[in-house]
């Protein structure tokens, strides 16, 4: 994987811990906040965080999506009782954010900080430099006020001192605040680098009663490939799935299979009623098969995205194929269906061997496939492909199910139009 979003709660807790460390105590941010999920024991939470009952609170869903204010999902300036009532009402509620639909399960609760100023800060990485954007005009209108943004570009191996920052900050910021803001940006950037963040954004941040910068909102992403060196610093971190629909049980099953295996097994169900099912070897090839189905105008019939690679064993390919066949053969509506068993030319994977598990599953689903009108289209190359393809051809005769089989002499996606023609009933 790579860049993974983390919850606001985790971003703030990491900042609370490390801003002080990297700035030798100069930057103060207490990071007071609490997380509430369906399993939270509210009484225990209150015991550990007595401030919850002593201060005015803000409550927001903490589910990696934005525009929470606009969607009326934020409680401002409430008591602990207000907060509990608000959470009780919203917990488990299905909402729609853009294309994604899902239920709210996580909230962040923080002290309400009265403020007038809303500043903006973001740090993003680039190939040769990191980009730090600061604006005294943050908040919901940041996009409209983008001309007010001050940008610092820090080359990969360079440093950025508070002094340099301070010199570039706009003149209308009071001197005292300028110094604190500059020290804050310097420290945030250090945390960003040292903890392998790939995104940090505060929109907005303000200043607390002592004049210390205070992020009201925080978005963070970590580079999870750095886990081997940074996971101690990250502590007990969670990488939630992007907000969106729940996984189908079949997707969950394959995801579990994938996490236990050294190989890669991926399944996304796009349309369970779709009539073109795919099971493609290789990450690159699987995307191209899905692309081609979409590009040739059959996106409505594309049932799934499916990929297996990294030399899965026979048991794994069997379970993988079985899961897809089970989905593909559920509707016996008399309409034609196609299963694409595709792939490019493998480097060193023994094609005949990887087909073994698939063939086992196909045998098992022989009757169901017939009832669901499934035809199979195979294309693959690589070591021992001749034997693998011969096995598939023989299987077609054995099962009495049309299996069209092609090798490297045929263009990789040639089977897509063939499958489409059949599905269209032409």
């Amino acid at each position: 994987m790579a860049r993974r979003k983390i919850r606001e709660f985790n971003s703030k807790k990491l900042l609370a811990k490390y801003l002080e460390i990297v700035s030798n105590g100069k930057v103060k941010y207490n990071g007071k906040c609490a997380q509430i999920s369906p399993n939270t024991d509210m009484e225990a939470l209150l015991k550990e965080n007595s401030w919850l009952a002593e201060t005015s609170l803000v409550v927001k869903p903490d589910m990696l999506f934005g525009k929470r204010g606009a969607n009326k999902l934020v409680l401002l300036d409430g008591t602990w009782n207000d907060a509990k009532a608000f959470i009780k009402e919203k917990m488990g509620q299905d909402i729609e954010i853009g294309k994604a639909k899902g239920a709210i399960t996580h909230f962040i609760v923080e002290p309400f900080v009265k403020h007038t100023e809303e500043h903006y800060l973001s740090i993003t990485p680039g190939r040769n430099e990191d980009t730090i954007n600061f604006s005294p005009a943050g908040g919901v209108a940041i996009e409209e006020n983008w001309d007010k943004v001050i940008t610092f570009q820090v080359p990969t191996e360079a440093e950025l001192s508070a002094k340099e920052i301070e010199e570039k900050l706009p003149g209308n910021i009071p001197a005292e605040q300028k110094i604190k803001t500059a020290e804050f940006i310097e420290a945030v950037y250090k945390v960003f680098k040292e903890l392998d963040f790939t995104l940090l954004e505060f929109n907005p941040f303000t200043y607390d009663a002592d004049g210390n910068p205070f992020p009201l909102d925080a978005r963070g992403e970590l580079d999870d490939t750095a886990a081997y060196k940074s996971e101690k610093k990250w502590g007990d971190i969670e990488f939630p799935r992007p907000f969106g629909r729940k996984l189908y049980p079949e997707e969950q099953f394959i995801s579990d299979l994938d996490s236990k295996s050294g190989a890669s097994l991926k399944l996304t169900i796009l349309n369970p009623e779709g009539r073109i099912w795919t099971m493609v070897a290789g990450g690159g090839a699987s995307v191209i098969y899905a692309d081609t189905i979409v590009d040739l105008g059959m996106e409505a019939e594309l049932a799934n995205y499916g990929e297996y690679s990294g030399n899965p064993n026979t048991e794994e390919t069997y379970l993988y194929a079985k899961t897809i066949l089970d989905l593909a053969t559920r509707n016996e509506d008399g309409k034609p269906r196609a299963l694409i068993i595709g792939g490019g030319i493998a480097n060193f994977t023994d094609v005949a061997k990887t087909f073994k598990g698939i063939i086992q599953a196909l045998r098992e689903y022989k009757d169901k496939m017939k009832k669901a009108g499934v035809r199979i289209y195979v294309r693959r190359g690589g070591p021992n492909y001749q034997k693998g393809l011969a096995l598939m051809r023989a299987l077609g005769e054995e099962l009495g199910i049309p299996i069209e089989v092609y090798g490297p002499e045929t263009h990789m996606t040639k089977i897509v139009p063939l499958a489409m023609e059949y599905v269209k009933g032409a």
């Binding site: 994987m1 790579a2 860049r3 294309k99 994604a100 990485p125 190939r127 040769n128 990969t156 191996e157 680098k193 392998d196 790939t198 580079d223 490939t225 750095a226 081997y228 060196k229 992007p242 907000f243 969106g244 629909r245 890669s264 996304t268 796009l270 290789g282 990450g283 690159g284 090839a285 699987s286 995307v287 191209i288 899905a290 692309d291 081609t292 189905i293 979409v294 590009d295 040739l296 996106e299 594309l302 995205y305 990929e307 690679s309 490019g344 030319i345 493998a346 480097n347 060193f348 190359g381 690589g382 070591p383 490297p408 002499e409 263009h411 990789m412 996606t413 040639k414 897509v416 139009p417």
Partner: protein
């Protein structure tokens, strides 16, 4: 940076397979020198044996990058097979070397910031990185990186053993084989192909390689395969617009299906993430097409697009199609030939007692887990491995009893003495124990088999005890297993008593023991110390165990006695004691033993 037929590489953290694959490629390309100059395994030295065609060559193994570079000054490429955890340090070290111009990083999962630091450093040193997260690349007929392009069959089928006219660059390495195949069918083939890797920040970019191709006179057209996510493809668009890329170009960006996915999906590559509109495959394909690059409507038409551009270049004379070259025949690997059923070979060894090829070792056909689960003992293991039989527990316990009884007999017997002297001479455990074991023979511990032989023969022939004693006397032979230097009828050997008691209690019958005891009664008439000794007792009771448990045929028993299995029991048992003596001497730090002169009678002639 340009690869040629003379390019040579160092391989860091080498694996035998990619090394052999590179050498096989070199051979079918008729390279003069192998493309691998040396191998680096941190902390190791030595030589690695590999094939160059039909003959074997030795590749030097170096303990560090510095040493390899000092020795192999003509190697300017380092292919780094280090894991994602150690790839940063080794790649940095490689970039520090003046002789290295290109570092290929195979590992996937290097943190972004580390990749960026390597990129930064490589630019300062004016060097090139290919990767991370890549299979590498290939220059047809000249130089192949690691596992690129798969098997030799595929390499020849894709005409990669000789140069064509197309420069190809992609993010994905997994699809490069597919593309080389496509190029072989639609054009005169590949000149050079590079997979920059799927990370967000590849060490060298699509554009850098496209610009390299632009500089190579052999490359007449460029094909690029991009993917959704990131903005690298736009640098190609810009370069095309600015006239920096003049050669005809075909491009396709994969990931047009992302729009039908429910939420943001991470495809296989770290860099392949659907995000902003600008980073979609559609937007990139559109921008590439608008810049004057040939872009098909879908991957389905990519081959036609490439063929069109190529044919145009042939027609206008830019390309005169590369001539076909017959690659030399590469001898097939013996293993591959066997698995293909092409060759057979008589084996030099036969083994009938154990098999370690499966998931679990088997002893005499029984998996070791079964042996452990059944609560069997070392006697059962001996029985399975020596006799290839499962015997009743009373039999295997008898074997264990023998091991216990014969394990040790004090420091003064010849075996222990030798072991102690050898150990005190500073020899290691194995040598000292072996020195003791070598004394086992006809005079020391070796009488078990002989006793079994003679008593079995006599008993089976139905001789009476006195007939047997008389027969032996006539032959002028001592009866093996009878007689002891110290023990006598009045001072019986406790060990013999224990064995006899066990057999009487547990064996269904003891006909050989009964016969031996009647023989002992005869010999005792002649002298008080002519008792059944421990060797004799073990040998004879073994006969009883075999004949009473119904697991051994007559043929088995004859064979066991004839080959001399039973001395093995003494060797095994006494090894325990000998090891104890050697360890004891080491523990005591006993000095070299020198036998005193006064204990030797010197009789030298004047």
């Amino acid at each position: 940076m340009k690869f040629t037929k003379d390019t040579r590489a160092l391989i860091y953290n080498f694996k035998a397979n990619p090394v052999q694959r590179m050498l096989d490629f070199d051979y079918i390309c008729k390279r003069e020198k192998p493309s691998i100059a040396g191998l680096i395994t941190p902390g190791s030295t030595g030589l690695h044996k590999a094939f160059f065609g039909g003959v074997e060559i030795l590749l030097p193994i170096y303990p560090s990058i510095e040493e390899a570079c000092k020795d192999q000054t003509d190697a300017d490429v380092l292919i780094n097979f280090a894991s994602f955890r150690s790839a940063y340090d080794s790649s940095k070290k490689a970039l520090e070397q003046d002789t290295i111009n290109t570092v290929v990083i195979i590992a996937e999962g290097i943190p972004e910031r580390m990749a960026r630091e390597l990129i930064d450093y490589s630019k300062k040193r004016n060097k090139m990185i290919i990767g991370p997260a890549t299979v590498g690349g290939i220059q047809a007929g000249a130089f192949k990186i690691g596992n690129t392009a798969g098997t030799v069959d595929n390499i020849i089928a894709c005409k990669l053993h000789r140069p064509g006219s197309v420069g190809f660059v992609s993010k994905s390495g997994g699809l490069s084989n597919e593309m080389y195949n496509m190029l072989a069918m639609t054009t005169d083939g590949l000149f050079e192909g590079i997979a920059v890797g799927g990370d967000a920040y590849p060490g060298s970019t699509l554009l850098e390689h496209a610009l390299r191709f632009e500089q190579m006179p052999e490359v007449k057209m460029i094909v690029m395969l991009g993917e959704l996510g990131g903005k690298d493809e736009y640098t190609i668009v810009e370069a095309k617009k600015q006239g920096k890329l003049k050669k005809p170009m075909v491009a396709w960006v994969t990931g047009t299906c992302a729009k039908v996915f429910p939420s943001d999906v991470q495809f296989g590559h770290a860099g392949a993430k659907s995000g902003a509109e600008l980073e979609t495959a559609e937007a990139k394909n559109k921008a590439l097409a608008e810049a004057g690059i040939a872009v098909p409507n879908s991957f389905e038409d990519l081959d036609k697009k490439i063929a069109e551009v190529y044919q145009e270049l042939v027609k206008d004379g830019t390309i005169s199609p590369a001539k076909e070259v017959e690659p030399p025949m590469l001898p097939m690997d013996y293993k591959a030939a066997v698995s293909a059923g092409i060759v057979r070979k008589p084996s030099n060894f036969v083994c009938t007692i154990s098999d370690d090829r499966g998931e679990e070792v088997t002893y005499g056909g029984v998996p070791i887990s079964e042996i452990i689960e059944n609560d069997s003992g070392i006697g059962d293991v001996i029985s399975l491995l020596w006799f290839k039989k499962k015997i009743p527990r009373y039999g295997s316990k008898f074997i264990e009893l023998v091991l216990i009884i014969a394990a040790e007999h004090g420091p003064c017997v010849s075996g222990a003495h030798n072991a102690i002297v050898a150990s005190r001479a500073g020899k290691d455990l194995v040598s000292s124990v072996a020195s003791g074991l070598l004394t086992i023979g006809p005079r020391f511990g070796g009488a078990i088999d002989d006793a079994a032989r003679y008593f079995k023969d006599a008993c089976d022939r139905g001789l009476s005890a006195d007939e047997f004693v008389a027969e032996m006397k006539n032959k002028n032979k001592r009866i093996p297993g009878i007689g002891h230097r110290i023990k006598s009828a009045k001072n019986p050997d406790k060990r013999v008593e224990l064995l006899k008691d066990y057999a009487k209690k547990n064996f269904p019958e003891t006909k050989y023991l009964d016969f031996a005891l009647s023989v002992e009664a005869e010999t005792l008439k002649k002298a008080n110390n002519l008792i059944l000794n421990v060797d004799g007792c073990i040998g004879i009771l073994f006969l009883d165990m075999m004949s009473s448990c119904e697991c051994f045929s007559k043929k088995d028993t004859d064979e066991i006695v004839e080959i001399g299995y039973l001395n093995g029991l003494f060797v095994l048992a006494r090894s325990i004691g000998l090891i104890g003596h050697v360890l004891d001497q080491k523990r005591l730090k006993a000095p070299l033993y020198r036998h005193p002169w006064d204990d030797v009678l010197f009789l030298n002639e004047e």
